[in-house]
Symmetry: C2
Subunit: 342 residues, 2 copies
């Protein structure tokens, strides 16, 4: 395409040299004033003149130029996950961004939908982040971690259900969610427990550790309880099919993966004449409002994020003191909320 | 803090000069090969040698250096909204990212939680994006648009319920959602229509145009229908309070903002002995699965995004031919789905 629009835009973008000229000061002075550097004595009048010139010209500093001068960036990269949204994690990310910004980092999210793992890692590395926080669902390999480190990242941290070799890990261990649901059902005297396994892409990352936790809780309970995985799509027809052969399965209870799958399955069971909880107890996870609005009210596993060690401060520490052994911090607490469905 | 970690990281980051040295070629050749530039004749053996050297050294290009050399970036900035997630919009953003990437743009999301509008715009401008797509909830002013343009953005586009003066607009006009619900209720013979107004932060951006659409539909219907706004928090106690004084309100129907508020209010009405739909018809919006699982099944307004003119191509066109008059494209189609609750 024509070079014209680019060139015209280029000459119209004000630089710090333009600000310096307009204010009648040096570029260094412009930099000191606009970065709020107070180690250098500059009069209030000059500071005001520089700020007015910058504002009048519409000047803002160039992050790329600054990071090239510094040889490193203050950019923390959060590769955006192309996963079904997990509200708990979203809230955490929002808080993490605010906390990192307070520590003077620039937080940038980078979508990787449509890229394979290698392409994604290379795209992130091109931005030269000083730290990368990769949420679950982004398949970070030891090789990918090495690409990031060699392009200047001081800290590579995963945030998700499982740690990745060679990276620091903020772990949202899903096993406790499945274990909590099963322990609750065992305490209620249930022994033949179904565990819903969503068939939607991306959810295996959560459903498999939940199933592992359920199996472990049953095995270590010495009750002889049996766990039966139940594949289910998030569709009424899939739930109706499962409900139609429910009695043949011989189950007395089900951990339904989360509150939304629980609502879907409970409706199908009720429509098929299976009584909840008399014939089958149902437990969800997530403690959504909808569970309280169902009849019977839905029992659930509530998840909370620990705040004992603020992760933003951990990231800052890892950036300032890189090279240590991988750290692991468990963030998730699971707690059963017993209502009427179990 | 000590300069040591930064310096050591600096010397360890491989540059294109290192790749050139290892492969025994010029830096220009490295650039041609790694950018897949086929206008220059380079033998397959040399291409292979450069790629192997780059891979062996863990080299990836530096986006900031490249954009400084080019005088502009290929970065499209999506300021991340700190809004309650809207699944429809999330899917759209995922598709938009993939499409822009195919057009060779780098898509970066920037969270602005905790920043005021001016701070946010300056933070975006520092990244020197070539285009900015600001979702609803980010309060873009004409002054903010000017800061972005003067820092090199060729196109500033809003994506949300309302256009902003001076920016191109991808409009998700919410008025049609409220109008569609009300027209459906009028056709069912209802004349005293409540409209739920969520009290949660950020939702006014959606609820106010939905109410405006509802009012307009009632006024232009020549039925003498009355619209009554109903403030509601997303809490059981708030819904119970509203249900307790329902009969005093004298309403025969309600547009409940969306399916989740509809579920909350319908449960409270049923618990208070108000029959749905006989005494009060209820319509939601969003066509969520949960509406189909309620009894009575929930009527709703389904929203769909038009794909007639792919917005990614529009952004590319605006970047290549900047300076035109603000464009406006309506993306949202609203369609009523009648079920049992109305």
């Amino acid at each position: 395409m024509s070079q014209l629009p680019e060139q015209s835009a280029r000459t119209s973008v004000p630089t710090s040299a333009d600000v310096a000229r307009a204010a009648g000061v040096s570029r260094a002075t412009v930099s000191y004033v606009l970065n709020d550097n107070t180690t250098v004595r500059i009069s209030d009048a000059t500071r005001r003149r520089v700020r007015e010139a910058a504002s009048g010209l519409g000047y803002v500093p160039h992050a790329a130029a600054r990071s090239l001068r510094a040889g490193h960036s203050r950019m923390v990269l959060l590769p955006a996950a192309h996963l079904p949204a997990v509200p708990l994690q979203q809230r955490f990310f929002t808080d993490l961004q605010s906390d990192l910004r307070r520590l003077d980092y620039t937080v940038v999210q980078y979508g990787s939908a449509g890229l394979d793992a290698d392409e994604a890692v290379r795209a992130w590395a091109e931005l030269r982040p000083v730290a990368v926080v990769a949420p679950g669902g982004v398949r970070l390999t030891p090789q990918g971690i090495s690409v990031l480190t060699r392009s200047g990242a001081k800290a590579v941290i995963t945030l998700g259900p499982q740690p990745v070799e060679g990276a620091h890990a903020l772990v949202l261990d899903q096993r406790g969610v499945g274990a909590g649901a099963v322990r609750h059902l065992l305490a209620r005297g249930r022994r033949r427990i179904g565990v819903v396994m969503p068939q939607e892409a991306g959810l295996a990352l959560f459903s498999e550790p939940r199933l592992a936790g359920a199996l472990h809780a049953a095995e270590t309970s010495a009750t002889g309880a049996r766990i039966q995985p139940l594949p289910l799509r998030y569709e009424e027809s899939s739930a109706a099919e499962l409900a139609a052969r429910w009695r043949a399965l011989g189950l007395d209870s089900v951990f339904a993966y989360d509150d939304e799958y629980a609502m879907l399955l409970m409706r199908a069971l009720q429509d098929a004449g299976v009584e909840v909880p008399a014939e089958t107890a149902v437990v969800g996870a997530g403690d959504l409002m909808l569970g309280r609005l169902l009849r019977p009210r839905l029992s659930t596993v509530r998840m909370e994020l620990a705040t004992a060690q603020p992760p933003a401060e951990m990231i800052d520490r890892l950036v300032r003191h890189p090279g240590g052994a991988p750290e692991r911090h468990d963030l998730l607490r699971a707690e059963t909320v017993a209502r009427e469905s179990s």
